[in-house]
């Protein structure tokens, strides 16, 4: 480009707007795999976005609900401490007591990144209802006392500026930089103290609007200053101790409240603070919900529901849960994983355009294009469905697009109905089995869900043993379980007949109760009593089970009325389960809703960098996809990148590698690649280019951490990986 300027210099050229237009792609433009048409991909993208927005809102709501209890108790704590600051009466006890700093020890579990949200909502709530002065400290910003004080001052005084802007602009024409800590300002507690008295006096004096505001907040004219230490474990103990000692000197002038975020256990407080310092604090413990419970709620609200059409297959769910349980305990990561699978589903599955609500899906199914119909025909589940049909219908399905669309609509409807029944029945079965000894079908509903997704649950051994145990359930337990079942099933409209059946059973049980009350002195009653007495002595669960089983088999001939009824009710439940808890794979068109590529998800979420590097070095074909690199066995292809050759050669060496030998070997291999006779003298000669390539490859290996320079021997490098001689 040229300028009209005569002088030399740097000129800024703004990019022309035309250029911008061509380069800026919308997010949805990335959303096709190269084959699908743009219209489809756009609507898929929109569906995905709106679905994710809904799911996100739901998770936020769930997490807020879960946190309410602990947040409420924390707020209560803050209010109480504030009140105790304000009621500075001259009674004897309060005068005599050492003035401790009220401190809340908040135990949040080991996954630190998850805490950010809790603290965010906590500080928002505090600011809303207790005090405008809330400071959040993070250990990485507070390596020394000076930084701690600086952070506190900046956050508090910066805040005061924004408050003044809102409330009383004309109040103080004088110094505008009141809030911004100038270079001149001393970062000390005394400054903070001065600021606090100034602020509180100002709010106490004239402006009536502000007064009303502060009184409505319920904290009077001296709102406390809340300091939140987000990750207590990572703070330097010395800094923390000094800060506490200093703060306690000013507690009379500034009402301070501390909140410690603790990841491990409250003992760490004693570990970090000596008695002389911890005696300055008045520590109260708050324990948050355990993360497994948290996860259970999130799964309950996001996965085990018909609200969202998107579903996870058994394998994917297992990957997500195992990452949670084995690796990080992080609910946030679980939700991120869910988001990733959602995105990947809509990205990779062209038919996911149908993955939306019932009405919407039907209208979309009507407008399917020819390619979409072809895609449907290629779905394995649809093929299976076609095979089951009459021959003429088969032909129709394979030739007529209209026919496919019609069938798709009805199949989608069936799938929705299937989901509507599946979840209540699943919950019902869980309610029945979750209290059984040893939890044959899992303690958590997610385990049962996992089993049901994989295969026909009634064919598993666990199901067998669970029902065997159920057949031995006492009456009151059974009736109670049945009651909860009917409660659960009542939510589903389509399961009315099942509910009716169960209610009838319950009634009959109760009838039986009354009957047996009348005919109490039957022979059966005695027989029932005797073995029970014997049972009470045995505490071993296995023994108990065995003896019960024996009893069961012994008395198959003459069953009491209750036992007959029990069998009947369990048969009824069994039939409900068999009817409704089919695995989704059995349903045609399940691919539309279920995301099943667990491998992709695992690769993305549980990355193995070391393995990836090793594969790249051992087998460059895997990543470069060049035919020349294909090699069998452990042989080095001559045409491989330099670093691969060098890596392969270094595998043959011991702990120390002679650089010159290495270079020689490398030169030979490369010469062979160039087509020269490896034995000829010309090939053996090194040229500068080869030398440079070798050096670059070696330094790349060093960068990757395979070798390092050593001083033990000249011209040698040390190998950092295992293996070799």
């Amino acid at each position: 480009m040229t300028t009209s300027s005569v002088s030399k210099g740097c000129f800024v050229f703004k990019p022309s707007s035309k250029k911008k237009k061509t380069t800026s792609l919308k997010a949805s433009d990335y959303f096709h795999d190269g084959k699908a048409d743009s219209q489809n991909s756009e609507s898929r993208f929109e569906t995905c976005q709106s679905l994710w927005q809904r799911m996100k809102a739901e998770t936020e709501r769930v997490q807020e609900d879960l946190n309410t209890k602990i947040l409420d108790s924390l707020l209560e704590f803050a209010r109480k401490s504030t009140a105790s600051f304000q009621s500075k009466t001259d009674d004897w006890a309060s005068r005599m007591r050492a003035s401790e700093i009220p401190t809340a020890a908040l135990v949040l579990g080991v996954n630190v990144p998850d805490h950010a949200m809790t603290f965010q909502s906590l500080s928002a709530l505090l600011q809303e209802s207790v005090t405008p002065y809330v400071v959040c400290l993070q250990s990485k910003e507070c390596s020394a006392l000076k930084q701690v004080l600086q952070k506190v001052l900046v956050q508090l005084m910066g805040h005061s500026v924004s408050v003044e802007d809102d409330d009383d602009e004309e109040d103080q024409p004088g110094p505008p930089p009141a809030g911004i800590p100038s270079r001149k300002m001393l970062c000390s507690m005394a400054t903070l103290c001065g600021w606090y008295t100034a602020v509180t006096q100002k709010s106490a004096s004239p402006s009536p609007g502000k007064k009303r505001l502060s009184s409505s907040k319920g904290c009077g004219q001296r709102p406390p200053v809340v300091v939140i230490f987000k990750d207590l474990e990572s703070f330097t103990p010395r800094v923390l101790q000094e800060f506490i000692v200093i703060s306690s000197r000013y507690i009379q002038q500034i009402p301070l409240i501390f909140i410690f975020g603790i990841a491990t256990s409250p003992i760490t407080i004693h570990g970090m603070l000596p008695h002389s310092v911890s005696s300055l604090l008045c520590i109260q413990l708050f324990q948050s919900l355990s993360c497994t419970q948290h996860l259970a709620t999130v799964i309950d609200k996001l996965v085990l529901t018909t609200t969202f059409p998107f579903k996870l297959s058994g394998k994917v769910l297992q990957v997500l849960i195992s990452i949670f349980l084995y690796h990080d305990f992080s609910v946030r990561n679980f939700i991120k994983g869910l988001q990733l699978s959602l995105l990947d589903h809509f990205y990779s599955q062209p038919l996911s355009v149908l993955c939306c609500d019932k009405q919407e899906a039907r209208s979309r199914a009507k407008e399917l294009s020819h390619e979409d119909c072809e895609n449907i025909r290629q779905l394995p589940s649809f093929m299976r469905y076609v095979e089951k049909q009459e021959p003429e219908i088969q032909v129709q399905l394979l030739t007529s697009d209209q026919r496919v669309k019609d069938v798709t609509q009805s199949l989608l409807k069936e799938l929705h109905a299937y989901h509507k029944n599946y979840y209540p029945v699943l919950r019902c079965l869980h309610a029945l089995t979750s209290s059984l000894p040893k939890y044959p079908l899992g303690k958590q509903i997610r385990e049962l869900h996992g089993i049901c997704l994989e295969k026909n649950v009634w064919e598993t051994e666990e199901y067998e043993s669970a029902f065997q145990l159920l057949r031995m359930l006492a009456k009151d337990e059974l009736v109670a379980a049945l009651r909860t079942c009917t409660e659960i099933l009542k939510c589903a409209k389509k399961l009315g007949d099942a509910v009716e059946k169960l209610e009838e059973f319950i009634e009959r049980f109760e009838l039986l109760d009354r009957c047996s009350a009348v005919v109490e002195t039957g022979q059966e009653g005695e027989e029932e009593l005797l073995p029970q007495k014997g049972l009470q002595k045995k505490t071993d669960l296995f023994q108990l089970q065995k003896s019960l089983l024996e009893r069961e088999s012994r008395r198959t001939k003459k069953l009491s009325k209750f036992e007959l009824l029990r069998l009947a009710v369990l048969d009824c439940i069994d039939s409900i389960v068999k009817k409704h808890l089919l695995p989704p794979e059995s349903q045609p068109l399940h691919e539309v809703f279920y995301y099943s590529s667990a491998g992709t998800l695992r690769r993305h979420l549980n990355a193995a960098p070391r393995t990836a590097i090793q594969t790249a070095l051992n087998n460059p074909y895997c990543y470069l996809q060049s035919e020349a690199l294909k090699s069998e066995g452990g042989a080095i292809s001559n045409a491989a990148p330099d670093i691969c050759i060098v890596y392969k050669l270094h595998l043959e060496c011991g702990r120390l590698i002679n650089l010159y030998d290495w270079l020689e070997a490398y030169a030979t291999v490369v010469a062979a690649a160039e087509g020269k006779d490896p034995d000829s003298t010309a090939a053996a000669q090194l040229d500068d280019v080869k030398h440079a390539r070798f050096i670059r490859a070696v330094s790349e290996l060093e960068f990757l951490g395979f070798i390092k320079p050593t001083k033990q021997k000249t011209d040698h490098v040390a190998r950092l990986t295992w293996g070799g001689c």
């Binding site: 007591r97 970062c187 005394a190 474990e233 000094e242 491990t264 690796h327």
Partner: protein, 434 residues
Amino acid sequence: MPALIQHPGFSELELRCVEEKLVCRESQVSMLLSIFGEPQQYSYPSVFIYGHAATGKSFVTQTLLREHQLPHALLNCVECSTSRLLFEHILNQLCAHSPSPDNEFSSHTRCDSFNDFIRLYRQLADLQQQKSTTYIVLDRAEALRDMDANLLSGFLRLQELVGGNVTVIFLSEIVWDKFRLNTGCFEPLIICFPDYSKAELQQILSLDHHPDYSADLYASYINILLGVFYSVCRDLKELRHLAALNFTKFCEPLVKGEAKESDTHRLWRNIEPHLKKAMQTVYLREISRSQWEEMQRKEGELHLKGLSAHAHVELPYYSKFLLIAAYLASFNPARADKRFFLKHHGKIKKTNFLKKHEKTSNHLLGPKPFPLDRLLAIFYSIVDSRVAPTANIFSQISSLVVLQLLALVGHDDQLNSPKYKCAVSFDFIRAIAR
């Protein structure tokens, strides 16, 4: 009654007033007063006062200076983390300046070095035309040792440097020997504040009796309290705190009318188990003051668990194994690894014996550092299933370090086999392994 403390520079009345406030410190007070001399007289350049926590060092100096209205500056050295803060605080106090919005929270003048401080101090002294001695009190003077090297020696001879009537008083819990610089310095006058004896504690604590009850009753209460706590705690502040917390419980039988004030034995029986419980809980800050009061109000119905009771930590599955592996690597010698973790090894009986034997001695030695490779090798051998070396495993190690369950030893080279130490106890590991 003739006053114990006599001094020509101050009136009888003032001295009487001081004496009333400063009980059991008569000899120290008179010593200090005689060092101070009359207001206009030059005093000794620097005085070093030491004694345990809560022996009245700060209180005595503060009261003396305030009561006699001597010009002074009181500083806490912990609060002044840099020398600039220290200097500016002193100057602020001497010219009665405090940070406020009107002065943009700045200090009186900017002062960066000792040299500036001397100059500014001289200016200030010229300005104020002060005749009487100015006192600069540096509380918690032990923090000075970690600051600039010239601070301590400079303050010791401040009088000489500024050429004015100034005395620096150092207060510390540490003896002077620990302060002495190897380059040599001006030796201050040293005054020791000894611990209060049991009788003195009794006397001081009995002073603040409850207005609703007689002084004798309170004195007997203090007697009981000291009987329980004197063996573990001689800190006056802490004792006062405990006395205040438990007094309502002590008075309970009196309020209910079950006992009279003279019924000392019954009162003792009532309060003694309660105080013992307090020693185990509220004194150690296992449960907080407010919770303790709550408990008293509810008559001990709810049993509160202390902080230490919540020792359990929930960890992800592999983190547990990593921590166990780290523990094994820290407390087992590396040469024994082959014996412990290799599957096919014949001499099982012998190794078991050896393991037990070695463990006891190794526990006494404390955790030893181990390289990352060894940790991972042990980890793979103790986990049943195959675990891919994913990024998650490595991030778990670093998050264990953040949680201070593992400690990173020597962080010079992260690429080249970092070394770790296990920072948790055997009991912790046992709870995890369960």
